[in-house]
């Protein structure tokens, strides 16, 4: 079972990133739980969601040890780095997370997600770049399969956008490159 936390500013699409991860995982037969954080998200500040992904029934949807942290901004690193397990993974959005010292018992994939998505002319796609990096870095699913899952997800909603796949692949690539 994998425990994933996805965190960032309110507007960065962290809940959506988590949702995508949850959805595609479900489609590929995983059991999952997705728990949003509370607080005054509406009025800015940090948002986060917390997923557990596994092969059998998820018992407790809450967890205090994070296997994979998707950190869209610095605050997220500050808030959650301590909770990452030894040997865990942090995917850090290096466009915004700068000059951070990371623990050395964890793997860190620094991906310039905001920059990449801007570059791809899909500024709202930074979360998908991060997701790509997460899949790439953790090997949770084959990258192509997951990309198909994303397409299917948006396709069903009638919101297909080839840029999303591109964002995802660029993120995955960046992580694999590390």
């Amino acid at each position: 079972m994998l425990s994933v936390t996805c965190a960032g500013f309110g507007g960065q699409g962290v809940l959506t990133a988590g949702l995508l991860l949850a959805n595609v995982s479900m489609v590929y037969g995983k059991k999952i739980t997705w728990v949003p954080s509370y607080g005054s998200e509406m009025r800015g500040g940090t948002a986060s969601c917390h997923l557990r992904i596994g092969d059998s029934e998820i018992l407790n949807p809450f967890f205090s040890s994070i296997d994979t942290l998707i950190a869209m901004n610095e605050e997220s690193v500050d808030s959650f780095q301590e909770k990452v397990v030894t040997g865990g993974v942090i995917i850090a959005n290096s466009t915004l997370v700068k000059n951070k010292t990371f623990r050395d018992d964890i793997r860190v994939a620094e991906v310039a997600a905001t920059a990449i998505s801007a570059e791809l002319d899909n500024p709202r796609g930074a979360n998908i770049v991060m997701l790509g990096a997460a899949i790439g870095a953790t090997g949770l699913f084959p990258v192509e399969d997951f990309a198909d899952g994303i397409d299917a997800y948006f396709g069903k909603k009638g919101r297909n956008n080839p840029l999303n796949r591109e964002c995802f692949m660029r993120g995955a690539q960046a992580a694999l490159d590390l």
Partner: protein, 355 residues
Amino acid sequence: MSYRLMKGNDALAEAAVRAGCRFFGGYPITPQSEILEYLSSRLPEVGGTFLQAESELSGINMVYGAAAAGFRAMTSSSGPGFSLLQEGISYIASAELPAVIVDVQRYGSGLGDIFQAQSDYHQATRGGGHGDYRMLVFAPSSVQESVDLMGLAFDKAEQYRNPCLILSDASIAQMMEPVKLPEMQEVDPDKPWAAKGKNGGDFKRITSTMYYIEDFDGYIKAKFDSMAAAEQRWENVEVEDADIVLVAYGISSRICKEAVAIARSRGIRLGLLRPITLWPFPTNAFKEVNSEVKAYLTVELSALPKLEDDVKIACEMKTPVKHFLGGANIPESSAIVEEAVSILNSREEVSWLKN
């Protein structure tokens, strides 16, 4: 049928529609507002009525009216709003009408806060309203169970002509899990007792049935006694050989399930008794627990212990009953295991078993 990823609140709402609910009257309050939001577009699709009421009082009384007219009807609220429903619930119960009420529990008395809690247990199980009634109270511990119990709640409400309560909480309501949804059910609203004009027959009086039933006291006691006997629901996890049995419902039961798994992996014989109905409290579940059990440990997200009384009575106070309270904080499963271990190791006996 395939899985759909849904929020607890949305799933609850969709399940209500599929259970034949055709009227919703209610008022927004976090963390249950998604139920309104979902139904505001969904109910009209199936020819039902969604009405955002000007208040919870108005909402529950619209539900009373729609239920009196024979339709499956529902309202939902949380904390302060749930308190405001109590008079209306008491009326619906006294008129012996079916209806479903949802309380998505949040933390705190007064205004409180919007995160999960399980502090409304007494209010839910002992009638927060005045007089002599009980509600069947269903406590889902997952999104799927929210769906399943919603259907059951509507059926049982109609079977017993009594309001039923779904006692959810902010975490179950806000989390997402894959669910399978049941088929759409069509329910005939033309009950013989429904207020819809007398159409040549006798006129119908939807009011407290006490005015028309002889030995009403005996009647109503028998009604609730029979519900108490027939409607207990629970899930027991490894209680057959457990030294300590956790007792927890809803979200905290899931933390406890993890605690059981952790404990068992460490060779500690922990079990879990999970009430699915809170009223009636599943006393029968305790018969499945091995008689050598050393203690019960209730786990609830509440500042004051509430389950404890029911557990004491259910186990006839032959076994010590301890509590583990998560209030504003979600307890860690490991902490529950530690607590269980320390109970096992402690020499200290519970006072009532000393003398």
